[in-house]
């Protein structure tokens, strides 16, 4: 598995993101789409009931416990297109915090403003966003401000509307495209004006730190995490001997 080239590393450090066009394709993409739709179909009634009782958000539909539903979601976590980059950037000590298998309804407003996910006091925090269907620029695409991950970027501005953010970049993409980004950076989901819900998977990682993820977080799928590398990635075993 190949990690970043010197050029990619420099781009990552300067901009805070890397894009992998058609990172998943062919049979892998078909398998992933099928698993996504199957899981979404199985969980939708519960989501609608949760909306009605005021306990689940209508603004995004997250499939609960996706790793327990289909091995295709587990295989995404250390997928060879992006995982070597995560390992490299985290000094070979990356852990999984969780996946979000998410459908975003088309809405006249975005459900979230520009924000970083964590402060710089948190160990390096990274996300991979994978589009399951084609996403147009006005279809709820991922937006990111290149360079905003740097410690000297200052606090995230709150421009109104989203488009007032200076120097932001929108990431339309094809099904199977993936974007790796540093979550110190300012990002959002742009407004979806297409009428078509956006389907994507967001994988959340962090450079290991003691006690961040308990060893039983992924115990329910431990029988499928058989290699030492995977067991460390899923915090089933200690990162450091």
């Amino acid at each position: 598995m190949a990690g970043p080239t010197a050029e990619e590393r420099a781009f990552w450090e300067e901009n805070g993101y890397l894009r992998f066009d058609l990172a998943i394709a062919g049979e892998d993409l078909v398998r992933l789409k099928n698993a996504f739709d199957r899981a979404a179909s199985a969980c939708k009634e519960d989501w609608l009931e949760g909306i009605a009782t005021g306990t689940k958000p209508a603004a995004h539909f997250d499939i609960p416990n996706p790793l327990e539903r289909d091995d295709v979601f587990i295989d995404l976590i250390d997928y060879p297109v992006w995982f070597p980059y995560l390992q490299d950037f985290a000094d070979d000590e990356v852990i999984l915090l969780g996946p979000q298998v998410r459908t975003l309804p088309a809405q006249p407003i975005s459900y979230v403003g520009w924000h970083p996910d964590v402060p710089h006091t948190t160990p390096l925090h990274m996300k991979v966003q994978i589009y399951i269907e084609d996403v147009q620029a006005n279809g709820g695409a991922f937006g990111f401000v290149p360079g905003s991950h740097k410690p000297d970027a200052g606090p995230c501005p709150k421009p109104r509307p989203l488009e007032a953010m200076p120097n932001y970049k929108v990431f339309p993409g094809k099904a199977g495209d993936a974007i790796l980004f540093n979550s110190y950076g300012w990002h959002t989901s742009m407004v979806n004006e297409t009428g078509v819900p956006r389907k994507s998977i967001i994988l959340i990682y962090e450079k290991w730190s003691e006690g961040k993820v308990s060893s039983d977080r992924y115990a329910s799928i431990s029988d499928r995490l058989t290699t030492p590398e995977r067991r460390r990635l899923f915090s089933l075993e200690p990162m450091r001997g």
Partner: protein, 293 residues
């Protein structure tokens, strides 16, 4: 100060017919005169009277009487009996100038956020459309199941003034009960999960939020510290000129008491400027509600 959401009602009579429930038995009254006395004791000059006791024209009799009697002190919010054909009732209720808007407890919209959405199919669409045409206010207290429909309506009617009730909480099904004092109580997460479809509506310049009903949503006694972060969030998103303080009297007269509620914003938003406080405590309601009618 302007109290942007109170209820008045008379004892049930031929002159003032109304529905009854556990909070409003036939012999109970919460009159305009009692309200004015309470307001004056706390330095509150004006109030928005929100219809209670039924949607029919005849059930608005006491509200209309109060608006006519005290035109400088009150404006009113009415209810609509037939959402498919609301125009006549909306015009009749606003005819004398006191009623400036209409309260909605539902949208009648698509409950699946992933389905195609066409606002023209919503049950209450004629009310929204006519309110937009006549510049009436929509007084909105939608259920959680339908809050995602509101941004579509705002997109269709971007100039319409909409006032979310009770801190923009949207009650979930089965969440409404009464507490041991007989007051409405709504069991809801704090902050409300519906916020993801509410906060982005700052984009629509006439969407406002009423800061009221803390007693019904808080899990703590007055001054309801568990709601402070949510008040801050609303201020950050909507700004003071779109927020309105209110008490929801008479449900709060015993606990925490009317006068205490005139100070609730000071405890929820202790950092605001005097200009912001002036807006929230009456300036916004004066500009957006009392300037009508």
């Amino acid at each position: 100060m302007i109290d942007a959401h109170v209820h008045v009602f008379a004892k049930v009579s031929e002159e003032f017919p109304r529905e009854v429930n556990v909070n409003t038995p036939p012999e109970r009254e919460a009159t305009a005169e009692q309200l004015l006395e309470t307001m004056e004791a706390s330095g509150v000059e004006k109030a928005i009277l929100t219809q209670i006791g039924g949607v029919e024209m005849v059930q608005h009799a006491y509200l209309l009487r109060c608006l006519k009697e005290y035109p400088d002190r009150f404006r009113g919010i009415g209810l609509v009996a037939d959402p498919q054909h609301p125009e006549d009732q909306m015009d009749r209720l606003t005819g004398d100038g006191g009623i400036v808007g209409f309260r909605l407890f539902k949208i009648g919209g698509e409950r699946d956020p992933l389905a195609p959405i066409d606002v023209r199919t919503f049950e209450t669409y004629p009310i929204w459309k006519y309110a937009a045409e006549k510049d009436y206010v929509i007084w909105l207290y939608p259920p959680a199941a339908e809050n995602h429909c509101v941004p579509y309506l705002m997109e269709a009617f971007p100039d319409l003034t909409v006032v979310y009730n009770h801190m923009a909480f949207c009650p979930g099904e089965g969440s409404f009960t009464h507490d041991e004092k007989g007051r409405p109580h709504i069991e809801s997460p704090i902050p409300p999960v519906t916020r993801y479809n509410t906060l982005g509506q700052y984009l629509f310049p006439n969407v406002c939020v009423k800061l009221s009903g803390q007693y019904a949503f808080s899990k703590e006694p007055y001054p309801y510290p568990d709601l402070a972060a949510w008040h801050q969030t609303l201020l950050k998103n909507f700004k003071a000129d779109r927020l309105m303080w209110a008490t929801d009297s008479p449900w709060i007269l015993e606990d925490p008491g009317y006068d205490n509620l005139t100070k609730v914003i000071d405890t929820q938003l202790p950092e605001i400027s005097e200009v912001e406080r002036t807006s929230i405590m009456g300036g916004t309601a004066e500009a957006r509600l009392f300037s009508r009618g």
